[in-house]
């Protein structure tokens, strides 16, 4: 049995009268890549925001490395090693790549003056990106000059560099071309090979990420309806599951 990183038990969340999550239990082992799939509005983003400490659950428990935790803030979740990569990437267009990589973790000298050590940051950013196989023209270019895929790769690299134990990727391939998706998946693949980071990929297009996941959880109407190792299922099975659920819901409609 491998080491457990993250586990939720019976998590629920409602916003006023709207129930986003009913009873969600997931678990994530060390070095595992979990695909959290589901249609738009299934509750994926809500679950993710609970795991990052952004939302507080209405009910249920969260365990991190076997210990119960209340993820009271984004800062606290991050201090545990839970690093989100948001869909908007939280990159600053006007700053260079290396400064973005060190945002809020700057290397400085000069005591209270907090002077930025650009040389050291540039060097370390270069090394880290090379190690992760992220290919960009230079760490000195502004983020605004990069493509969507390159930006995503830099956001992922930044989180990994922050000693992430659990990486939460929110729709990492959204609005991305084939070549760019390949670049991101390569980066994730490399992380997986090393095995010291666990990853949750949130996606609605499961065909794209299927091969990179160890296990698939399907979230439908605020509940986990499916939990299988990737080796024991297939894209076809997932598709038929989603379609039958859709048909069921539609068939149910008029009779209720």
């Amino acid at each position: 049995m491998s080491e457990e990183m993250l586990r939720t038990e019976h998590i629920s969340k409602s916003f006023g009268r709207v129930t986003a999550l009913k009873d969600t239990s997931i678990h994530l082992d060390k070095g595992e890549v979990l695909g959290l799939l589901g249609d738009n509005g299934a509750g994926k983003s809500t679950l993710l925001k609970i795991l990052t400490g952004f939302h507080q659950p209405s009910g249920g428990k969260i365990f991190f490395q076997g210990k119960e935790q209340v993820l009271k803030s984004v800062g606290y979740a991050r201090s545990l090693g839970i690093e989100p990569v948001y869909q908007d990437l939280a990159l600053i267009n006007e700053l260079s790549v290396y400064r973005n990589m060190f945002l809020k973790r700057e290397l400085m000298f000069g005591g209270f003056l907090r002077i930025l050590d650009d040389g050291a940051m540039r060097k370390q950013a270069k090394e880290k990106l090379k190690l992760m196989g992220v290919n960009i023209p230079s760490v000195d270019v502004e983020i605004s000059k990069l493509s969507g895929g390159q930006r995503q790769a830099i956001a992922v690299a930044r989180s990994v560099y922050a000693n992430a134990k659990v990486l939460l990727l929110d729709e990492p391939l959204a609005a991305m071309g084939v070549k760019e998706s390949t670049m991101i998946l390569d980066v994730i693949g490399r992380l997986k090979e090393k095995g010291d980071v666990s990853v949750i990929i949130v996606a609605h297009n499961y065909a794209q990420v299927f091969d990179f996941c160890d296990r698939i959880n399907l979230l439908q109407n605020g509940e986990i309806t499916f939990n299988q190792k990737t080796s024991e299922t297939s894209v076809e099975e997932l598709t038929s599951l989603v379609v039958s659920e859709y048909r069921l819901a539609r068939g149910r409609g008029p009779t209720v």
């Binding site: 984004v74 800062g75 991050r78 989100p84 948001y86 908007d88 990437l89 939280a90 990159l91 600053i92 267009n93 006007e94 700053l95 400064r99 945002l103 809020k104 700057e106 400085m108 003056l113 907090r114 002077i115 930025l116 650009d118 290919n135 023209p137 230079s138 270019v141 502004e142 605004s144 000059k145 493509s147 969507g148 895929g149 390159q150 609005a175 071309g177 084939v178 070549k179 760019e180 390949t182 670049m183």
Partner: protein, 342 residues
């Protein structure tokens, strides 16, 4: 959709390609890339023009006059640049400019030594910045509204405590000489403040977080930057510089006027910042550019006065100049963005 950008042409290729061209095109590229250089060129052209139309333009007396005016504006502009980059605006800096010297004057009248009185004069400036920032950030009110309110409020306070009459400070030659009593001292203050704030902006964590706050507010929050405090801090800095500019000017002019500064100097400072290349939308700006912008505005104003152009015409030309600069800025930044991608 940009599907084939994963291996875009390395940026280093661009200058290499251009190296084959002559000196002129490389100079052109430099001017195109650097906002500051284009404003400096505009300033030089204006100086040459006014020197030919009014030979007194480059006389020591006029240079002192012009520099004194531009220096004060540029000091306030440095603060406005910081606030503008963080994504806000401070309309009340010109009123702080009028208030601080009065507080200093009354403190000095009460028997406090001048140097200490100057510091006491800056305390209300800092407090105003702090309160403006707290209201703007805490109550999520646009700073345009907050500082529009404090603009009138501070003006009323200054008029009340002064009774509406100007006063004359008597600092003595040494204090006056150090604190802006002559044009050269003001220029040194303006240059020192420009250097300090340009350094803060490009080389310190505070500057980087200011850019991040104005460039992508949500993103900055997500990585854990305390964006509220960044904004509040910059309001305090801007207000302090407004107060300092007022105190320096009170020694240069030799009189403290409750109606001095005000919206006039505030809008001049913001215009300097914008002409200098600072975006009103936040995330981008330069202190050096703001000083050059203030110099260009000073040259325009002074040059027109010397050539006998009326103040009415000056305002028309100033307005047109701001519009044209904005147009050029927008065009240039689009061209720059396109140039980087190619």
């Amino acid at each position: 959709m940009s599907t084939d950008n994963a291996e875009i042409v390395p940026q280093e290729d661009m200058p290499r390609r251009l190296d084959r061209r002559g000196f002129a095109s490389r100079l052109g590229l430099f001017l195109f890339r650097s906002r500051e250089a284009s404003i400096a060129i505009a300033g030089i052209v204006l100086v040459l023009y006014f020197q030919t139309t009014a030979p007194a333009f480059l006389s020591p007396g006029n240079i002192a006059n012009l520099a004194g005016y531009a220096a004060t504006t540029s000091i306030i502009a440095a603060g406005e640049v910081m606030v503008l980059i963080s994504g806000e605006v401070d309309l009340s800096a010109g009123q702080v400019y009028a208030l601080s010297p009065f507080v200093m004057f009354y403190a000095q009248q009460a028997g406090i030594p001048f140097v200490l009185a100057i510091i006491i004069g800056l305390i209300p400036a800092a407090l105003i910045g702090l309160i403006t920032g707290l209201i703007t950030v805490g109550l999520e009110i646009p700073s345009f509204i907050t500082t529009l309110g404090t603009l009138f409020l501070i003006n009323g306070v200054t008029l009340t405590i002064s009774g509406g009459f100007p006063v004359q400070p008597n600092p003595g030659p040494v204090i006056a000489g150090i604190f802006g009593g002559n044009a050269y001292s003001q220029i040194i203050w303006a240059l020192a403040i420009m250097l300090i704030f340009q350094f803060i902006l490009v080389k310190t964590r505070w500057g980087m977080h200011t850019i991040a706050t104005g460039g992508n507010l949500n993103g900055a929050k997500e990585v854990g930057i305390k964006t509220g405090w960044v904004k509040i801090g910059n309001f305090v800095l801007c207000s302090l510089l407004g107060g300092l500019a007022g105190i320096l000017d009170s020694f240069r002019i030799g009189s403290i006027d409750p109606l001095a500064g005000g919206t006039d100097i505030m809008f001049m400072a913001i215009a300097s910042a914008v002409i200098g290349g600072t975006l009103l939308t936040g995330g981008s700006g330069t202190i050096v550019g703001a000083l050059l912008g203030a110099a260009v505005l000073g040259i325009l104003k002074d040059g027109f006065t010397l050539s006998g152009v009326s103040a009415y015409t000056f305002d028309m030309i100033l307005g047109a100049a701001i519009l044209i600069t904005m147009l050029i800025n927008v065009r240039l930044s689009r061209l720059r963005a396109a140039g980087g991608k190619r």
